[in-house]
């Protein structure tokens, strides 16, 4: 499956982004940790001088909390926002960019199956993400461990901060790679990947506005079992929760997050099943669609004719909901009784507009990516 020639070809194509990922991991994990530790050092000295600590136990708890629930998640979140962007770009260059020049033709003439080609791209990207992330995470941990704050480290939390973001990032990569097998160019791939990555939160917002406008208030969602279930499912399928919003995840595990001693925090690994599910599904569907993909449609928004109506309906409905939501926000205060009319004016107007835009978009072949 792992063929040197495919590795060499993909490396040539993506080396700038791959090295950028390595560099981001080096700069954002160990270096940022060192800077944050220095700031903590200054803060502790200042607090000591000001007599802010009642006793040594309080000092120990404050430092432990700073390291484990502030420095680590903050460093992770900042790193992972930038890494997520780079990873989506990487997936775009791996597959989408190939469709924009003759590289796709060249790749498919080589003596390798399409499954081999796709899995090789996945393995190469994943290997770089995993290796650079783990090595630099360990370096960052060593910086804390060998400092005077080493005794404050809580290994189960460190492991949590390593494993969740890592699986989350791999899920983002695999998911974005999968969209490359459906779309016909790098811009389409990146756009659709981002839209579907934020879709779970976006659709909650759009649906809540729709229900609000139709008198079912969002605040009553809790009384509607199916809406409650939907909200929960969508919240859990939001992939950025597993690598950026780590504090939310800790809150899910521990309701009294701020009151309890940091070392008593509970960590569960069952939630990993969601990003792992993303990886397995995207990989399975990605291989299948990459094998079936008709590259004569490269440059078009969607490679498969049969999927075009699905995307058209989805696009029109989502933009109609967005249009309704936005126009409702502009309802003058003295006309708040009529906000449903504003909502439907926005809904129908934007829906119609995007019906025509989607027809054009789905049928056109971008010259920039034509073959």
């Amino acid at each position: 499956m792992w063929h040197k020639a495919l590795f060499r070809k993909d490396y040539k194509q993506t080396k700038f982004i791959l090295w950028a990922i390595v560099l981001i991991c080096i700069l954002a994990l160990p270096l940022n940790t060192a800077v944050q530790l220095e700031e903590l050092r200054i803060k502790v000295e200042k607090d000591e001088l000001d007599g802010d600590f009642a006793n040594d136990t309080e000092k120990f708890e404050v430092i432990s909390r700073s390291i484990n629930s502030s420095i680590l998640p903050d460093t992770m979140a900042m790193t992972n926002v930038i890494l997520s962007v780079m990873i989506i770009l990487l997936a775009g260059v791996m597959i989408g960019a190939e469709r924009g020049n003759k590289t796709n033709d060249f790749t498919f003439t080589l003596p390798f199956s399409r499954k081999q080609i796709f899995l090789s791209k996945w393995m190469m990207g994943s290997a770089v993400i995993v290796a650079s992330y783990i090595v630099n995470f360990i370096l960052a941990q060593c910086i804390i461990y060998f400092s005077e704050f080493g005794q404050h480290m809580i290994w189960k939390l460190s492991f949590f901060y390593l494993i969740y973001p890592l699986v989350g990032l791999l899920a983002i990569y695999t998911f974005s790679l999968f969209w490359g097998t459906v779309t016909g160019g790098v811009i389409y791939q990146i756009a659709v990947s981002i839209i579907f990555l934020i879709f779970p939160l976006g659709i909650i917002m759009l649906l809540s506005s729709f229900l609000d406008a139709n008198t079912v208030s969002y605040y009553y969602w809790d009384e509607w079992a199916f809406l409650r279930g939907l909200d929960s499912v969508l919240n859990h399928t939001f992939l950025f929760k597993y690598n950026i919003a780590l504090e939310n995840l800790l809150y899910d595990f521990n309701n009294r997050w701020f009151d309890m001693p940091i070392q008593d925090m509970k960590i569960y690994y069952t939630h990993l099943l969601i990003p792992l599910g993303y990886i397995a599904t995207s990989l399975f569907l990605g291989v299948m669609l990459y094998e079936k993909g008709n590259i004569e449609h490269n440059g078009k928004f969607i490679l498969f004719d049969k999927l075009q109506p699905v995307f058209q309906v989805g696009m029109v409905v989502c933009f109609a909901l967005l249009g309704g939501m936005l126009l409702r926000e502009f309802t003058p205060y003295n006309l708040s009784e009529s906000e449903i009319y504003f909502y439907y004016a926005g809904f129908i107007g934007t829906g119609l507009l995007f019906y025509f835009i989607s027809r054009k978009l789905l049928n056109m072949k971008l010259q920039l990516f034509s073959r």
Binding site: H3, K4, A5, R8, K9, K12, N101, K102, T103, N104, D105, F106, T107, F108, T109, L110, P111, F112, S113, Q116, K292, G293, N294, I295, E296, D305
Partner: protein
Amino acid sequence: MLEVQKLTKTIHNKSVFEDISFSIEPGQIIGLVGRNGAGKTTLLKSMVGIFNPQSGDVKFEGVSVYDNPSIKKHIVFVPDSPEALKSYTVKEIVKLYNDIYPQFDERYFYELLQRFSLSTNVKIGNYSKGMKALFALVLAFSTKAKLIILDEPTDGLDVIVKKKIIQYIVEEVAEKQTSILVSSHRLDEIEFIADKVLMMKQGKLDSQTELMDMKSHYKKVQVVFKKELPPSLQNANGIDVLNQTGRVYTLLLSGKLEKANEMIQSEQPLLFEELPMTLEDVFVSKLGGDGDVA
């Protein structure tokens, strides 16, 4: 060696070509000709797995290239321009091809670069159009592949480069028994190098003609009658008008040449003269029409 079996391809529910079958033997050069839009490039790309055909198969030494793509290490496809490799340096390509093709002959490759005065210290994108075409050929032949598929190898090149390329292809085939499938609009070139010509018309294989046999299947004659071409000859099977200048007609006779000859003689032409025939005459006669570029 290579067998194309009932290959069919449709794009947007429109047939590009259907039911194409032919075979290539070792050391054979086959020319693929047809008008613009006849489906030549799509056929070549489908044969090497760039496009997925709707049905049919391509077997190399009995092994399907779709089920066992590893067999493609014996087949190299050379597109009209090596755009995919333009960001590579020569050294990077050598490493890549060494990994892909086990038989890649690096020493031979560098010898050929020297012979054609192609610089080794540049990126492929920096070569001129002619140099790129030559480079792609040198690269393909250095893989020692048993079959090389060329799509418009001389398209847009100057006569000097064209000559070099044609000469090089002929040399390689003579020395190494490599098989070549070449699509081109340059019928004179095809006529010069090919053993067999496949003609595509509206997505179908119109004919497969051995060039050696062409002369026994076709005859080009110039005739003059007292008036215009007699009606009995105008719609006759096996008689096609290639050209008309006044009362002088150039005809292409095909099929039963004796019978066509007799039909013309029975109309008592003032002049009946046999002319040297070219592939272009056959092409115009068979694939020409009412200017309908497909």
